[in-house]
């Protein structure tokens, strides 16, 4: 996937506040088409808030957010609906509708937005559920009957149900065991390649950053402090960034990533 110079998501001068607490103050970020960008930052630095602002769940206090060159804030309802169809969001823990089965959850966006015949819709939902690696018998289960990892996979299936061009993933590997997390990383990478997705990944997982992210954006001090590849991150000398990418866990993740690269 070759990256086009025009950014697919462009955030300029974003300001968000909750009461007197300023989360973002003049934040800028570009996401290129077809890349996997990892957004990291300490707790409370507004990673999820940034995600919510981009997908229009949260009204920022100032700043511009453009997705596909269209402003998210100043579009008409109809334009925004068309825009929204071109991205999918997976929330932490899946946020599946608890009254619907996995299959119905994945069908839900298609049911709302397209007039497809039932059998076609079911087949397409079945493909998506299998794509994310859920077993056949998970289709008819309710979210409460699934494990955390399966719920995340089902949430991912729902996010890609409409074949979006951008997928926003909020901590997809949090709370998974290392094997499950690694499998999820591979899944993201595979689907990104075969569906041509742009992935906006909010994560804490250093292994994910090493394994699948093309670029990393670090949020700190209410701004995007640094953007670049993993190698670039190692050179940044901001204390928090240095601690993050040179701490004991980072070294362990790095060495395991290098081992994998060597194989």
């Amino acid at each position: 996937m070759t990256a086009v110079s025009d950014p697919i998501i462009r955030v300029r001068g974003l300001v968000t506040r909750f009461g007197t607490h300023t989360v973002h103050d003049g934040l800028d970020l570009d996401v290129k088409q077809g890349e996997i960008i990892g957004v990291v930052g300490g707790s409370g630095t507004g990673k999820s808030v940034l995600l919510r602002a981009i997908v229009g769940l949260l009204e920022p206090d100032a700043g511009q957010i453009e997705v596909f060159g269209q402003s998210v804030r100043s579009t008409s309802d109809a334009e925004f609906r068309a825009l929204r169809r071109r991205w999918g969001v997976m929330f932490q823990d899946g946020a599946l509708f608890s009254s619907l089965t996995v299959r119905q959850n994945v069908e839900a966006p298609m049911r709302e937005q397209l007039a497809l015949p039932d059998d076609l819709r079911e087949t397409l939902a079945g493909i998506k559920v299998r794509m994310v690696g859920l077993p056949e018998n998970a289709m008819a289960k309710y979210p409460s009957e699934l494990s955390g990892g399966m719920r995340k996979r089902a949430g991912f299936a729902r996010a890609i149900a409409m074949d979006p061009e951008i997928v926003f993933l909020d901590e997809p590997t949090a709370g998974l065991d290392p094997i499950g997390a690694a499998a999820f990383d591979i899944l993201i990478k595979q689907l990104q390649a075969s569906l041509g997705l742009t992935v906006f990944l909010v994560t804490h997982d250093l292994d994910s950053l090493h394994a699948i992210c093309d670029r990393i954006a670090v949020l700190a001090d209410q701004k995007v402090l640094a953007v670049g590849t993993m190698d670039d991150m190692m050179q940044v000398d901001h204390p928090w960034v240095h601690e993050y990418f040179h701490g004991p866990r980072a070294r362990a993740a790095l060495s395991s990533a290098q081992r994998e690269g060597a194989q």
Binding site: M1, D6, I8, Q33, F68, G69, Q70, A82, S98, S99, M110, L114, A115, L116, P117, D119, L120, E122, T123, L124, G126, I127, K128, R130, M131, E136, M139, Y142, P143, S144, I160, M162, D163, E165, Q190, L191, A193, S194, L195, G196, T198
Partner: protein, 377 residues
């Protein structure tokens, strides 16, 4: 694959020539239906190849369409060839092909008569099992209460007082108003009937007996079941959902002692009190309406009430109150404990708790009627 800003027209063009289907434009989930008709036509006379060189976009649904055509052709023993796929498109087709759901997965079998019987049987068994569980929960609460009587220091007094406030004091206005209006209605309707026989004055007996013996406590119990029983289920259920109950158990705290007993105890103290308030309020309402409607002065009402109405009518009402309270409390807490991990079960069990406790209160009331008739009060 992605266009900047403006979305191009959502169309797909296709042409058939010499057994080759040529597709151009956008083969997407939106445009697929334009082709579906042609797909059906193709079943009769399948293509030998599909040319997708000119496709600008293709998504999973598009890949599915191509694979579906391939499978249809295979049924006619034709090896359909897909030509001109870019590397990314070929990869997508391969991914989708690998994940095609098995053909028979979608068809759900209709229920046979035996299946229906089975569903019914399962429901009966579930109801029986629930009765057993409810009884065992009742036993557990009574055993814990017994333990508290022997070791009073285990009682969470603050919690009991808090729940007395929530269940009792806060409910006084609604209970009093409800009983007052019931008294008014009884007086009004009763007098209209009794006037035909010139027996207006018996309206006092009618109001007194019906309110003191049945309606005062029964309607109070129904209001409390709706107000506090549902609150018990919702609060205990949400604690269960957030694993607070499990946390208590691991800390060596008994949820029955901490959550259930104070609620049940507060309810058993407060329901008789609320019932008493309802009795007074109902009599006041009845007296007022008798006065306005038939000129039965409050003094006459009082005299007739004291002389003609046995005090047992009041006692019967009051005796029932703690039993109703126990039913409401036990069912409310039991349903709360049954809440699972999902938000839906919380809502379902809260409404089930209210329905079941009101139903059980009325059943209990009927049993008491029989009992008091047999003992003759």
């Amino acid at each position: 694959m992605t266009e900047p800003a403006a979305m191009p027209a959502k169309t797909i063009q296709s042409s058939t020539f010499d057994g080759t289907l040529t597709l151009s434009g956008r083969l997407l989930i939106d445009t697929l239906l334009q082709l579906e008709g042609r797909g059906g036509h193709a079943a009769a006379e399948p293509f030998h190849s599909i040319d997708i060189t000119d496709l600008s976009q293709m998504d999973t649904a598009g890949a599915w369409f191509l694979i579906d055509q391939k499978m249809r052709a295979a049924r006619h023993n034709i090896a359909l060839e897909i030509r001109g796929a870019s590397q990314a498109q070929a990869q997508l087709i391969a991914t989708v092909e690998k994940n095609m759901p098995p053909k028979d997965a979608a068809a759900a079998k209709p229920l046979s008569i035996a299946d229906r019987f089975e569903v019914y049987g399962r429901k009966v068994v579930r109801a029986l099992r629930m009765t057993v569980e409810l009884t065992s929960f009742l036993g557990q609460v009574i055993a814990t209460l017994g333990g508290i009587i022997r070791h009073p220091s285990r009682l969470r007094l603050t919690s009991v007082v808090h729940h007395c406030q929530e269940i009792g004091v806060s409910a006084v206005p609604i209970v009093a108003l409800m009983a007052f209006l019931i008294g008014v209605v009884l007086a009004f309707q009763g007098s209209a009937q009794l006037r035909q026989f010139g027996a207006e004055v018996f309206v006092v007996d009618l109001i007194a007996i019906s309110i003191l013996r049945e309606l005062g406590i029964l309607l109070t119990a129904i209001i409390v079941a709706g107000r506090s029983g549902s609150a018990f289920t919702a609060s205990i259920g949400s604690m269960k959902m957030r694993e607070e109950i499990d946390a208590m158990r691991t800390l060596g705290l008994d949820p029955v002692t901490i959550l259930v007993v104070p609620r049940v105890l507060a309810l058993m103290l407060m329901l008789p009190a609320l019932g008493f308030i309802a009795d007074i309020s109902g009599l006041v309402g009845g007296a007022l309406m008798s006065w306005i409607d038939m000129g039965v002065s409050p003094a006459v009402f009082q005299t007739r009430l004291v002389n003609n109405t046995d005090v047992w009518h009041f006692s019967v009402g009051m005796i029932k109150a703690p039993f109703f309270a126990l039913i409401i409390g036990i069912i409310g807490c039991y349903e709360g404990m049954k809440v699972g991990g999902d938000a839906e079960s919380l809502g379902r069990l809260t409404s089930a708790s209210v329905v079941l406790s009101i139903f059980m209160v009325i059943v209990m009331d009927a049993l008491f009627s029989v009992f008091f008739a047999v003992v003759g009060v």
